[in-house]
């Protein structure tokens, strides 16, 4: 018989019927159900198929440890693969479908792999598919099939319609887990006035108490504690929230499932919320997970963790089957058996130990539970679900000592003891300690300075112990928080006879074998990854004995459940084989997250445009309004070109550049980095950071400067103006602003602490516009008042202050384009005002805006270096900038720039290329001497290219080996990738107006 809903009981709302579907079939679901309980109540036995052999699989547990019941949840753009049915809360409109099976779970063709399973022994893929041929073709052919067979759920290739939120939270105490221990801890700390966050992954508080019968003594306690907590405004309770990771410095990651229990998020709520919690103290009370016993066919639908059967009965009012066999090695199953009998099942308790203690025996008998001692289930019978259990007498290691007897049943509950959930603790502090008394791994000590553990997590057994450990750990955190515990009494601890825990007299058996030490049929250690006992044995034989080798070779513990029920069994088996103890065999490392976390949740709002900040010039809107095509420059948006009519980029930039050389143009250069260098030692600072000298610069002047990295390579260039005695205004390239500031700060805070200098980024505070062209001065003379700017009064490298449209501005004279040019600096808030005034004033001079493409063409014509040339591997000499370097003073990079390879005369140096023919070269092409094979790294490379409007030719800048000495030579310019091979002549990089007559006009 399959599972069915009991007529009474359960913490469900029988009055609310929910529309819940699995593979199209309507399930009987109520509010308060999980998808798993609804499946079970509806008699769905097979809910999934195994990973490798595609064997039928049913619901195995009632929580996060579930290895089997994984489904596709929802559909289309909201499809969630690998949803764990045991923790999916039932909601109206829930659609779920089975995974990894074809045509469906009930009849899965893939199950034929079961017949060839001996050939699919552990690690077989490392030994085959190598192929007789060389190369990787054969394997990749096979790999295609393997990939299709592997995987579980399907990922969608469409956008997620839901949103996610992030909270940064702080508290005194984070309590993880709202079972008996966690609730007690939260109440104790809350009453003492601590700022507490209590998190619980379930949608209800109570932990394992929820698996107790309704309206019993424990419910009474639970209600009172919940009421007590409700009264405390300083306790924040987060249900449906998983603490998935514990990180250094007492940082915890939580995921709150805000809307996962609804068909879709309502009222603009996010689907999930990521809480990043920084806490002073933490109490981990994460409970324990039941451990299976391993036997033949232990993956058959109907084999379940014993206490889960109890959970389904008491919490959801669902009995997994009428005839239940519970195979156990510990006392915790007695309560299970009794309560299942009370719920109306026919229960046989098969206890591996020779005798059950008297008190329990009596209670069991009274409840009508049949008890078989010294026995265990060696094999489950049935094809698609359990129909019987084969029961054998065993010795203390789990080996059969007699013949198996068949006992017909619907369900086999298993309990091999319990594993404390040490995950969060171990993520941070490493390997747990093996506690012989409870045969389980526990935190190596109960408390660290800021982290305490309580409850079943430290193998506390009785309810009383669990409650007390919650209280006492909370008290010790209060000490650290310097708070006094309140005198208020906690609700009275319920006393339950059967609340025995698992540790006392626990038997040390893991897998049940026949007299020849063999399991009967396929006996799975890791059900989710289809790893059998024989696989562990084979791994051992092949020398994969360390836990990590074992795990990786067999894949045990690496499935989505991360081995929550299986890891310890694999270990125990390996220990047995190698004759070592379990602690000597070791454990694998616990890694976050505790349960899988949606990527979107950790991303929050940081996606699409918000992935990274976008920086805009204060006149950005003007560019857009006036038809500019914008382009990315690092984080910035800059006008690329301003097309007129149908113009494409090429037409537009040629027109713009030509216009600058013939008339006058204006370009927004607000993106340049700007740094205020202030203080009595500012000049000395500049003298050290730039290669050229700064001591002679007068107020009112500015100067072009070059900086090196400490290792002697060129880092950046730009102009710095002296505004006052101790006040300099530095500009950097757009790309390197942050780097220059960081280097300056670093040096000032470490090596140059004696310098009295402040460096402050003022990039965003100042806008800057370059006005270039023969008519630039005429225009500015009209627009600017309060300053004289005639050629004599204001030569190059000088600045003045004046007013444009009643706004104070600073005008620098300096040229990048090679034309007569100025830069207008204006506080950002007035940027647009001044810009539009300039545009207006410019009408008389035919002023036009130009973009970065035209600027690029102009600077290439002039042979000015920019990002493509200052690429981090070029020296002053390479770029023809060595003339700037002072020999009279040290500066950043001055020592290391003299290293032999940097000073090698055979290095690549900056040259111009005059390309022959109509076709232009592309940056990144390689350069070879004529008649030399076009192989290897080449003799240089092309850095920047353009069709020069001024020359009417295709030109380029390039770095060519010994380039300076090769003027006039013809070379090949080769772009292998795009099949382009051109001839070019090496020329000076200063293509246009090399004397600089125009800019000095």
């Amino acid at each position: 018989m399959s599972g069915f809903r009991l007529s009474t009981g359960g913490r469900i709302d029988r009055n609310t019927l929910l529309n819940v579907r699995f593979d199209g079939r309507r399930l009987k679901a109520h509010a308060g159900d999980t998808l798993a309980s609804a499946l079970m109540a509806s008699g769905e036995n097979i809910v999934a198929r195994g990973f490798k052999y595609h064997r039928a699989r049913g619901i195995y547990s009632a929580g996060a440890e579930e290895p089997n019941a994984y489904v596709h949840l929802r559909n289309e753009s909201r499809l969630e693969p690998n949803a764990r049915a045991t923790t999916v809360e039932a909601f109206d409109g829930l659609i779920s479908t089975s995974q990894n099976s074809w045509p469906d779970v009930r009849l899965d063709v893939g199950a034929v792999t079961g017949y060839i399973s001996p050939f699919l022994s552990v690690g077989f893929y490392y030994k085959t598919f190598i192929g007789p041929f060389s190369g990787t073709r054969f394997w990749m052919f096979c790999e295609g099939f393997i990939r299709k067979a592997a995987g579980m759920g399907r990922g969608m290739k469409v956008d997620d319609p839901d949103s996610y939120d992030k909270v940064n939270a702080f508290c005194d105490l984070l309590v993880v887990g709202a079972g008996a221990a966690g609730l007690s801890a939260a109440l104790t700390a809350g009453r003492a006035g601590a700022d507490v966050i209590l998190v619980e992954q379930d949608f209800e508080l109570g932990g394992s108490l929820l698996s107790q019968p309704q309206r019993g003594e424990t419910d009474d306690w639970l209600e009172k504690v919940k009421a007590g907590l409700k009264d405390l405004p300083n306790v924040r309770i987060l249900t449906r929230t998983t603490a998935f990771g514990a990180y250094d410095e007492d940082v915890y990651g939580l995921i709150e499932h805000v809307s996962d229990h609804l068909q879709s998020p309502q009222n603009h709520q996010p689907r999930q919320r990521f809480w990043l919690v920084r806490t002073k103290q933490a109490v981990l009370a994460t409970g324990a997970i039941e451990r299976p016993l391993v036997f033949g066919n232990n993956d058959l639908p109907g084999v379940m963790l014993a206490a889960s059967i109890q959970t389904y009965a008491n919490r959801f009012g669902v009995l997994a089957g009428q005839r239940i066999v519970v195979s156990t090695n510990n006392n915790s199953s007695c309560q299970v058996a009794v309560q299942l009998a009370q719920a109306g099942a026919d229960v046989t308790l098969v206890d591996a130990r020779p005798h059950v203690c008297e008190v329990l025996a009596e209670t069991l008998a009274k409840a009508g539970v049949a008890v078989l001692s010294g026995k265990a289930v060696i094999c489950a019978k049935g094809r698609r679900k359990v129909v019987a259990a084969m029961i054998v007498p065993i010795d203390s290691c789990g080996k059969a000592t007699g013949l198996a007897k068949r006992l017909d049943c619907d369900v086999i509950g298993v309990s091999g003891g319990w594993s404390p959930v040490v995950h969060l603790w171990s993520q941070r502090f490493g390997k747990p300690r093996f506690d012989e008394a409870s045969a389980s791994f526990v935190p190596d000590i109960r408390g660290r300075e800021t982290v305490q553990c309580a409850g079943r997590m430290v193998a506390a057994q009785s309810l009383e112990d669990r409650i007390n450990s919650g209280k006492s750990t909370a008290k010790s955190t209060l000490k650290a928080l310097e708070l006094k515990p309140s005198r208020k009494l906690h609700p009275k601890t319920p006393d339950t006879v059967l609340d025995t825990g698992w540790a006392k007299d626990i038997g040390t058996i893991w897998a049940i074998r026949d007299a020849n030490d063999k399991t009967m049929g396929k006996a799975f250690v890791d059900i989710q990854h289809d790893v059998k006992v024989t696989d562990i044995d084979q791994a051992y034989r092949e020398g994969y004995v360390s836990v990590e080798h074992l795990k990786r070779y067999t894949t045990a513990g690496m499935a989505p459940d991360q081995g929550k029920t299986s890891n310890i069994i694999a270990l125990a088996r390996m220990a047995e084989l190698s004759g070592k103890t379990i602690p000597k065999t070791g454990t694998t490392t616990f890694r976050p997250p505790y349960t899988p976390v949606a990527i979107g949740a950790l991303v929050g709002h940081v996606h699409g445009h918000h992935f990274a900040a976008t920086r805009y010039s204060p006149v950005h809107d003007w560019h857009v309004e006036n038809g500019a095509v914008m382009t990315e420059a690092g984080a910035w948006m800059r006008p690329w070109h301003y097309p007129e009519g149908e113009e494409v980029l090429r037409d537009a930039y040629i027109r713009e550049a030509t216009h600058v050389r013939a008339h006058v143009g204006i370009i927004d250069v607000s993106t340049l980095g700007k740094i205020a260098v202030q203080g009595p030692d500012a000049a000395e600072f500049l003298n050290r950071i730039y290669v050229n000298g700064w001591k002679t610069l007068q107020v009112g002047q500015l100067r072009y400067g070059v900086m090196l990295r400490e290792d002697g390579f060129v880092m950046d260039d730009g102009a710095t103006a002296r505004l006052g005695d101790f006040d300099y205004f530095m500009s950097t390239t757009t790309a390197n602003a942050a780097k220059v500031l960081a280097m300056s700060e670093h040096l000032l805070q470490t090596a140059w602490r004696d310098l009295k200098v402040h460096v402050t980024s003022i990039t965003d505070q100042w806008a800057a516009f370059a006005i270039a062209g023969p008519k630039a001065r005429d225009l500015l003379q009209l627009a600017l008042s309060g300053a004289e700017i005639s050629g004599e009064q204001m030569p190059n490298n000088h600045f003045v202050t004046g007013e444009i449209a009643d706004t104070e501005v600073r005008l620098h004279r300096m040229s990048y384009s090679g034309e007569l040019a100025y830069e207008v600096y204006v506080p950002s808030g007035f940027a647009r005002h001044v810009w539009t005034a300039l545009i207006k004033a410019g009408e008389a001079f035919d002023l036009r805006p130009y973009g970065t493409e035209a600027m690029g063409a102009l600077r290439i014509e002039k042979g000015h270096v920019a990002g493509p040339e200052i690429e981090g591997r070029t020296t002053l000499k390479d770029l023809g900038l060595e003339g700037f370097a002072s020999s009279k003073k040290p500066f950043v990079g001055s020592v290391l720039k003299g290293r032999p390879v940097l000073a090698d005369p055979a290095r690549e140096t900056l040259v111009g290329l005059m390309i022959t023919g109509e076709q232009g070269a592309l940056p990144g092409s390689l350069i070879y001497s004529t008649n030399r094979p076009m192989q290897g790294h080449g003799e240089g490379w092309v850095s920047s290219t353009t069709w020069s409007p001024a020359l009417g030719k295709n030109i380029a800048l390039a770095l060519v080996r010994k380039g300076k000495f090769r003027m006039g030579e013809d070379v090949q310019v080769v772009n292998h990738l795009e099949n382009q091979s051109l001839t070019a002549q090496i020329v000076s990089p200063h293509f246009f107006d090399p004397e600089g007559a125009r800019q000095n006009a």
């Binding site: 092949e542 890694r591 997250p593 899988p596 990527i599 940081v606 699409g608 400490e710 690429e871 290293r899």
Partner: protein, 418 residues
């Protein structure tokens, strides 16, 4: 020892898989060896294998403090490629690629080298130009490379974000079709088994705690299992390079940093290739088991702890969603970390050291997995012949002194290149 083949799998299956032999022995350390390699990661094991196979030096021990392959070899994101532009790197990584291509056959162990191709996306014209230069260098050196524009990338990888809301639009990509992934554990195991067959002793659970000195020369190692003398000692300890060099009194241009990796729950085939984002340090591929394997940047602080923090987790996953918005509902299954030997130019060292008897292999940064075969091959050569092979000739310690940084990024001396 049994040869692996489909036939051996079949034959063993018939006898219940009870007759498989150990993949490698678990020997006791001998008092002395010709060569002792410290560190049984991929590099150390490969070195031992090639010492025996290529140079006939069989009296070799590889000494490992934990379990073989448990360092970065067993923690990395398994990307294999040879798209290096700088002289000194280009041909070394291409040697590695060529060795990868027949490694399974050579080791008689399927290391699952899957040449599924790798895309490096470009997000600006400047990045396209830089990619063109790299691609041209590759082509000119006989290495496959292609440059795709946005249209072509979109046809090939339709599930990336091409929408106007993408913060960094995709302009194109440079593609290496021979690049791909390999199964990291299998690489360690394959080399271990093959080396073991050549007579190499792999000694696990044995930590090197110091050196045996003789007149300023190193003539062996002190270990937790006693002293072991050696004609030559080779270090291949990745994140612990600084530590082991320090014991020998050497200071190296290497810093140890934490790097995390991430894997999602297993999924049916979704991403058939390797994709690197160009706007942030991020890349993705899908393992044969079905998990999306994600890689990102260093956490940014020096540490020997093999765990990282949430800020980099958030950033890496944000990069994933920025690149491929549909990953949003997929779940992160596990994230972990390794400790990286970050050199100051992003390139490694395979070299003799100033101390006689001590040889160094380290500085692998983010990218040493792909180098494993060539690294072992060249290190073996260097140890056996007392001089570097031309493919590792530039991987010296003196390169910084001379000014020959092998700086693929142009980022200058900082421990986060590549």
């Amino acid at each position: 020892m049994s040869h692996y083949s489909a036939f051996s799998v079949f034959r063993n299956a018939l006898t219940g898989n009870r007759h498989w032999q150990r993949a490698w022995r678990d020997p006791h350390p001998k008092p002395s060896y010709d060569v002792v390699i410290v560190g049984a990661g991929g590099h150390g094991l490969a070195t031992a294998y090639y010492l025996a196979k290529e140079h006939g030096i069989h009296n070799v021990a590889v000494i490992e403090k934990g379990w073989l392959g448990g360092g970065n070899t067993g923690r990395n994101t398994t990307i294999v490629r040879s798209n290096y532009m700088m002289p000194g790197n280009t041909m070394f990584y291409e040697r590695s690629m060529k060795l990868w291509e027949n490694l399974s056959q050579d080791l008689n162990f399927n290391v699952m080298i899957s040449q599924r191709g790798q895309y490096n996306l470009c997000h600006s014209p400047a990045q396209m130009d830089a990619a063109r230069r790299r691609g041209n260098v590759m082509r000119a050196n006989g290495i496959d490379a292609d440059l795709f524009d946005r249209v072509e990338v979109r046809q090939r990888l339709p599930y990336l974000d091409y929408s106007p809301s993408a913060r960094f639009p995709i302009h194109g990509a440079i593609f290496q079709s021979r690049a791909g992934t390999a199964r990291h554990d299998a690489v360690a195991w394959g080399y271990a088994r093959a080396a073991d067959r050549q007579g190499v002793d792999i000694i696990q659970q044995c930590e090197v705690t110091g050196y045996i000195w003789d007149d300023g020369n190193i003539v062996g190692v002190e270990t937790t299992r006693g002293p072991i003398r050696a004609g030559k000692v080779g270090l291949a300890v990745a994140g612990h390079t600084g530590h082991l060099a320090d014991m020998a009194g050497l200071r190296l241009p290497i810093e140890t940093h934490v790097l995390q990796a991430y894997v999602t729950e297993p999924l049916k085939p979704l991403v058939d290739t390797v994709i690197s984002f160009g706007a942030a340090h991020f890349y993705v591929s899908q393992s044969d088991k079905g998990g999306l394997v994600l890689g990102g940047d260093l956490d940014g602080y020096n540490s020997y702890a093999q765990r990282g923090g949430l800020p980099m987790v958030e950033h890496t996953l944000a990069s994933a969603k920025a690149l491929m918005p549909s990953v949003s509902r997929l779940k992160l299954l596990r994230h972990w970390a390794g400790v990286m030997d970050m050199s100051m130019d992003g390139s490694p060292f395979i070299t003799k050291t100033p101390i006689d008897g001590l040889y160094l292999n380290g500085g692998w940064c983010y990218g040493g997995f792909k180098a494993t075969p060539a690294s072992g091959w060249c290190f073996a050569w260097t140890i056996a012949k007392e001089q570097p092979h031309q493919d590792n000739a530039e991987f010296t310690l003196s390169r910084f002194e001379r000014g020959y940084q092998i700086d693929e990024k142009g980022a200058g001396p900082q421990p986060n290149a590549h």
